[in-house]
């Protein structure tokens, strides 16, 4: 996981962004407070339209906040001149869902691009580019054009490009949303590796809880233009405090059909090994349950993930089942009607 938090590299204070259209005002962000520590992998999660993309663009001033401040490494970005903002942006790499590579440049040319902009000499830029392409595992595709690369390779080039100017922060805007699950995994592993080896702070924007679980130390949940919840990923995942968090953590929609029934959400945090918990619970309580949803992973012989089961209608049996699960050291909570 991420390095031990030291001091905030990004501090957002009562940030708001309002768009004016002809007919109405749209509040994309409303009173956001966040602080992101040096060296951590910080996740920002929300449904589409929640304002997360606007938020990440406020961090590097691609969007000017309507009010509030963004402190980057102690400097208030909104008080800088245009030239100073451009300088600050070189300390913040950014990668995108659609990669946004220059199609008319080779992989090497793309990585050299930010260096050219920064005025680095050509030979020096090329040397740096070949270093970075090696780091992302693409040394052999140096002369390939983006159209000749796969999605995962394109994102690797984009990562190399974003790292070219030695940034302190890497902003990832839905960086894996256009990739298949296997490629997503390898890109996440690369990001984690970069975080560990180079100590770069990474901010991950996504709508998928799986991504947050996989690499983030802390997470902020953004909903309706506000931060609904912010904390360590384990805490938010096991004990979601707000409706917005629950909606993201719980398998949305899938359990909706069983609205009338009593349901229990069980979270596996890796503490139980191969013990067949559900089967044992059924034997112990003498009533069957219906598994409505399960998403568990086996990491090093331990079960991680969650499951939603439909409980028998009798109140006593249901209570016994809750007690049984809790007695096995697992987190269990009742899934309420308005979930999903």
């Amino acid at each position: 996981m991420a390095a031990v938090p030291e001091k905030p590299i990004i501090e957002i204070r009562s940030l708001s962004k309002t768009y004016k259209t002809d007919t109405a005002e749209i509040h994309a962000l409303n009173g956001i407070d966040l602080s992101i520590q040096k060296g951590e992998i910080f996740g920002i999660i929300g449904m589409s339209g929640a304002g997360k993309s606007t938020l990440v663009r406020c961090i590097n001033m691609l969007e000017k906040p309507t009010s509030g401040t963004v402190l980057f490494d102690g400097r208030d970005l909104s008080k800088l001149t245009d030239a100073e903002v451009r300088g600050a942006r070189r300390s913040m790499g950014m990668i995108f869902q659609q990669f946004n590579l220059l199609m008319q440049r080779t992989a090497e040319g793309n990585v050299c691009f930010p260096l050219e902009i920064a005025g680095v000499k050509k030979e020096k830029a090329k040397a740096r580019a070949s270093q970075l392409l090696e780091l992302v595992g693409l040394s052999d595709r140096r002369d390939s054009y983006p159209s000749q690369l796969s999605g995962g390779q394109k994102q690797r080039v984009a990562i190399a490009r974003a790292l070219a100017t030695d940034p302190k922060v890497l902003l990832c805007d839905e960086a894996t949303s256009a990739l298949d699950p296997t490629t997503t995994k390898s890109i996440l592993a690369l990001l984690q590796d970069i975080n560990r080896r180079l100590g770069i702070t990474i901010v991950v924007i996504t709508h998928e809880m799986g991504i947050i679980e996989a690499i983030c130390g802390r997470v902020a949940i953004i909903s309706d233009s506000r931060i609904a919840e912010c904390g360590r990923v384990e805490d938010v995942f096991f004990k979601p405090k707000t409706e917005a968090a629950r909606r993201l953590v719980c398998p949305e929609g899938r359990v909706d059909r069983f609205r009338s029934s009593r349901r229990m959400r069980i979270v596996f945090d890796g503490s139980s090994a191969f013990e067949p918990v559900i089967a044992n619970m059924v034997l112990a309580c003498g009533k069957p349950v219906n598994i409505l949803y399960a998403d568990t992973k086996n990491i090093g012989g331990k079960a991680f993930g969650q499951m939603v089961v439909q409980l028998p209608e009798e109140r006593d049996t249901a209570r016994k089942m809750f007690e049984y699960i809790r007695s096995r050291g697992l987190t269990a909570e009742e899934v309420r009607e308005n979930v999903g």
Binding site: L62, A88, M94, Q98, Q104, R105, I117
Partner: protein, 219 residues
């Protein structure tokens, strides 16, 4: 009638046509390219939005484009004289040709540059690129294949217009076609110039399209 004099006239016509097209296209781009770039950069959602400048440019380009070439040719005769010192011949035709093609080229450039993915522009901005760097290192190189196709359209359109300059003694193949075909009913001469025109257009088109394909790394 196909004596040496006629042959020389035809060759001369080809030379004058190529000269007019080349020089007019060049100067039309000198004016039209920056206009096209500004139309994209200043547009809402562009690299540096400037609604007022955009609106003014937009209207100005439309106004200029709505003046028929033949009217412009005559209307700016004093200006042409001031610039090149004469109002007759190929060189004189270049002034109205370049001026009337410039707003057309501005639109061609605009549509080419608009094909560049805004995400790529945003990526460049996120790296701290200035607007000028975005134009020079992102917009123009990324749109190069499309700009070259636009170049082919511009050059062939200017070639077509150059025939109208024949009405004012502009010279070139169009001039020959009008003098012999229209005034003297020598349709065979006109037909030959027509064929020559087609050949010139084909060659121009071929050169630009080949350059466009070669510069396109997107597929």
């Amino acid at each position: 009638m196909w004596d040496e004099a006629m042959l020389r006239m035809m060759l001369n016509g080809i030379g004058e046509t190529l000269y007019m097209v080349a020089v007019s296209t060049f100067f039309a781009y000198v004016i039209g390219l920056p206009l096209g770039i500004m139309l994209v950069v200043f547009a809402p959602g562009g690299a540096r939005p400037h609604p007022r400048a955009y609106k003014i440019l937009d209207v100005a380009v439309n106004l200029a484009r709505s003046i028929p070439f033949i009217i412009l040719l005559i209307a700016i005769l004093p200006f042409t004289r001031a610039v090149v010192g004469t109002t007759i011949g190929s060189t004189a035709a270049i002034v109205p040709l370049a001026l009337s093609a410039a707003p057309f080229i501005a639109r061609l450039v605009e549509s080419s540059l608009k094909e560049v993915d805004p995400g790529v522009v945003e990526a460049a901005q996120s790296m701290g690129a200035t607007t000028f760097q975005i134009i020079r290192k992102v917009l123009l190189p990324e749109a190069k294949p499309s700009l070259l196709v636009g170049g082919a359209i511009a050059a062939t359109t200017i070639l077509g217009y150059s025939a109208m300059a024949g009405f004012c003694g502009g010279g070139g193949l169009g001039d020959i076609a009008i003098r012999f075909g229209y005034y003297r009913y020598q349709y065979d001469v006109m037909l030959v110039t027509l064929v020559l025109n087609v050949v010139v257009v084909q060659i121009l088109q071929g050169i630009f399209m080949k350059a466009s394909r070669k510069s396109d790394k997107r597929k």
